[in-house]
């Protein structure tokens, strides 16, 4: 039993990271229909910014988190303007390859400047373990931070999307870009906002990962980026609660698979679930089915 509780705790921490990143993925995909492969790299950059702030400037947790989110949101906007905007009218595949090029550029550009070596975050959060229900299962204080920050950011995002004008514009553009432009919505501005918010969330995930796992390197974004995308697709791309669900679902599934002795195959299981979900519900669990009009 305590074994099980421990694994669920492990899974939820992992899942909240996936969920944060999946949110950004899902928003960007919803609005410009581009698999933004550079999203994982924005997360990496966020982790490095957090590292620099905490290590060299002695920032605390929250200032570092917030400044890092601001800087990564700027980076996201710049990437969109420089790289993706010229591709808006080209084929999906060309846009996808552009995204991959941006991702490689950030990975190896970062590697050139900071070397490929791993770095470790300073301990800016107290190192406390709490044992759960008097059992052997432990929760780290940082788990609690991660989970809290994730939930707060998600609630904030829900508010922005449903209650603010920008958020409504985003939903309108995601639904029908041309029509919303006719209704006077500034497409460019809305896309920029989307990238800014999505990238800020990735940046936050980067800092949280740095603090939680203590290690960062220039290639750290690739695998979580892919996993976050899987999470977004499982939940139904473009659907905010779907991304959150997908993230936690994937995190818990991976841990459970490992717990059952399948650690060697946990990525394979993640992909297999993805394929299964797509086959059964091509638009994801929370996605609405769309039919092409004949």
């Amino acid at each position: 039993m305590e074994h099980f509780i421990q694994q669920i705790v492990n899974g939820i921490s992992l899942g909240s990271i996936y969920a944060l990143m999946a949110l950004g993925y899902t928003m960007v995909y919803g609005i410009i229909k581009l698999i933004n492969f550079a999203h994982g790299e924005i997360y990496m950059v966020g982790a490095y910014i957090g590292y620099a702030l905490t290590t060299f400037f002695n920032f605390g947790f929250f200032p570092a988190l917030i400044l890092s989110m601001i800087l990564t949101s700027l980076l996201g906007v710049v990437i969109e303007k420089v790289a993706y905007k010229p591709m808006r009218n080209s084929t999906r595949i060309a846009a996808l390859i552009t995204a991959i090029a941006v991702s490689m550029f950030l990975q190896y550009g970062m590697m050139y400047f900071v070397t490929p070596q791993t770095r470790s975050y300073p301990n800016i959060l107290p190192d406390i373990q709490v044992s759960l229900f008097g059992t052997n299962a432990v929760v780290d204080i940082r788990n609690i931070y991660i989970l809290t920050v994730t939930i707060v950011l998600m609630l904030l995002l829900q508010y922005v999307i449903h209650k603010t004008k920008t958020g409504k514009a985003m939903r309108a553009v995601a639904l029908d870009g041309d029509a919303s432009q006719l209704m006077g919505i500034d497409m460019n501005k809305t896309i920029s906002y989307t990238f800014a918010i999505g990238s800020a969330l990735a940046g936050a995930a980067g800092v949280l990962v740095g603090i939680y796992y203590n290690t960062i390197n220039p290639l750290m974004g690739a695998v979580p980026g892919l996993k976050a995308f899987i999470a977004a697709v499982i939940g139904g791309i473009g659907v905010i609660p779907g991304a959150v669900f997908g993230g936690f679902f994937l995190g818990v599934t991976e841990t459970v698979v490992s717990a059952l002795g399948g650690s060697l195959y946990k990525d394979a299981v993640a992909f297999a679930i993805l394929i299964l979900v797509l086959l059964i519900k091509p638009n994801g669990i929370f996605g609405s089915n769309q039919r092409e009009k004949v």
Partner: protein, 389 residues
């Protein structure tokens, strides 16, 4: 349809010739004034951190050698290329270094897999290839048991470390139930694991849990929780410091306080940052040398490295550094910078003294060197014992 075929042919030829000639500049001029050595390393891709460390170490050594007058009165010229962590690209670069850049020796690559990719051209053209980190047993000896004429390594074979640690766990620590957490994307890690299991069970020990992780993972709690449930007396984690640091930290957090064993992949100052001093107790690993060695050469190396790069050197730096000197030593003894002579000199290496210990090359082109077992006490490596070969 068929016209398509013909176009491709013309193109393929033109391009191949262009590729072939574009880098021809070095031909003919490389004989007289410098000795060219090729570096075939992983500078990008998933094992870039190992490749960069090693090539930094080598370049540092060569710089020193050149500053001190070079070898045989000539300067050593380093030609460094990035094999992108891909074994076919490693072969391509070996081929290019040999046929276009006319190097007398190739140093690298970092991992066994890429070294296996890189070595065929060296064998065909008769140019020595030496790796300081390709630990797999079949790098220097092919699957039929025949020694590859021109391939050397200056690091332990995986089997050697695995056997050493199995003996250490069973005999010295007196522990019978071991759990293993292996990096299943690393041939190094699996190599140690396999020989450990073989030796440990032969001695009478029992493997109570086998779990795996992948390179660049950061969350090991799930597998560690499983290991905790198996109640091992000792845990073998044959990996590199990048992940091992986190594994030890997370293992200790989960309350796994049994001894943890590993190999030379642990040797990096980073491990302390990653795991924290508290977690790094009761950790034992085999290594080439003790980084706390106070001998003059080691101290000099550490100081020079810190001055150049502004941080503490890790095992890969030290091994790369030694590889640079190993090469220079062989050229010196060969008396002539020709690949064949260098090969012969390398094969006859006896008691080459580097900062990572003294080594001789055996008939299988593997090093014969003492293995040191270190214990981490509050993150500081302490010399525990040295096993002479």
């Amino acid at each position: 349809m068929k016209k398509v075929v013909s176009v491709f042919l013309v193109l393929i030829m033109v391009a191949s010739l262009v590729v072939g000639c574009s880098s021809d500049s070095g031909q003919g001029s490389g004989d007289a004034d410098t000795i060219k050595v090729g570096l075939n390393y992983e500078l990008s891709g998933n094992v870039a951190s190992y490749g960069t460390d090693l090539s930094d170490g080598i370049e540092m050594a060569i710089e020193e050698i050149n500053k001190n007058g070079g070898v045989l009165g000539k300067q050593i010229e380093v030609i460094k290329m990035d094999n992108t962590s891909d074994s076919a690209e490693a072969a391509n670069i070996s081929e290019r270094l040999i046929t276009r850049e006319n190097v007398v020796t190739i140093l690298g690559p970092a991992t066994s897999g890429n070294t296996k990719g890189a070595l065929p051209p060296a064998e065909q053209h008769g140019v020595p290839l030496v790796s300081a980190s390709a630990t797999a047993d079949d790098v220097t000896v092919d699957s039929n048991g025949k020694v590859r004429d021109y391939v050397f390594k200056t690091c332990f074979s995986d089997s050697y470390q695995g056997v050493t640690m199995a003996n250490f766990a069973y005999n010295d620590l007196g522990l019978k139930n071991a759990a293993i957490l292996v990096e299943n994307t690393s041939d190094y890690s699996i190599g140690i694991q396999n020989s450990f299991i073989e030796e440990f069970t032969k001695l009478g020990g029992k493997i109570v849990a086998e779990e795996a992780y992948q390179s660049k993972e950061t969350d090991f709690r799930a597998v560690l929780t499983n290991i905790r449930a198996a109640n091992p007396e000792v845990l073998l984690v044959p990996g590199y410091y990048e992940e091992v640091g986190l594994i030890i930290k997370q293992a200790r957090e989960l309350g796994i306080d049994v001894p943890i064993l590993g190999g030379d992949g642990y040797d990096s100052p980073e491990i302390l940052d990653l795991a924290g001093a508290d977690a790094l107790n009761d950790v034992y690993y085999s290594n080439h040398y003790s980084p706390m060695d106070t001998s003059e050469e080691v101290v000099a190396f550490r100081n020079a490295f810190k001055e150049k790069f502004g941080r503490e050197p890790g095992a890969f730096h030290a091994m790369g550094y030694d590889l640079g000197y190993f090469f220079a030593d062989a050229v010196e003894r060969a008396g002539e910078a020709s690949p064949e002579k260098i090969r012969d000199a390398m094969a006859e290496t006896v008691d080459f003294k580097g900062i990572t210990g003294t080594l001789s090359i055996d008939e299988n082109h593997n090093p014969v060197k003492a293995v040191t077992i270190l214990e981490l006490v509050n993150g500081e490596p302490k010399f525990l014992k040295k096993l002479e070969p």
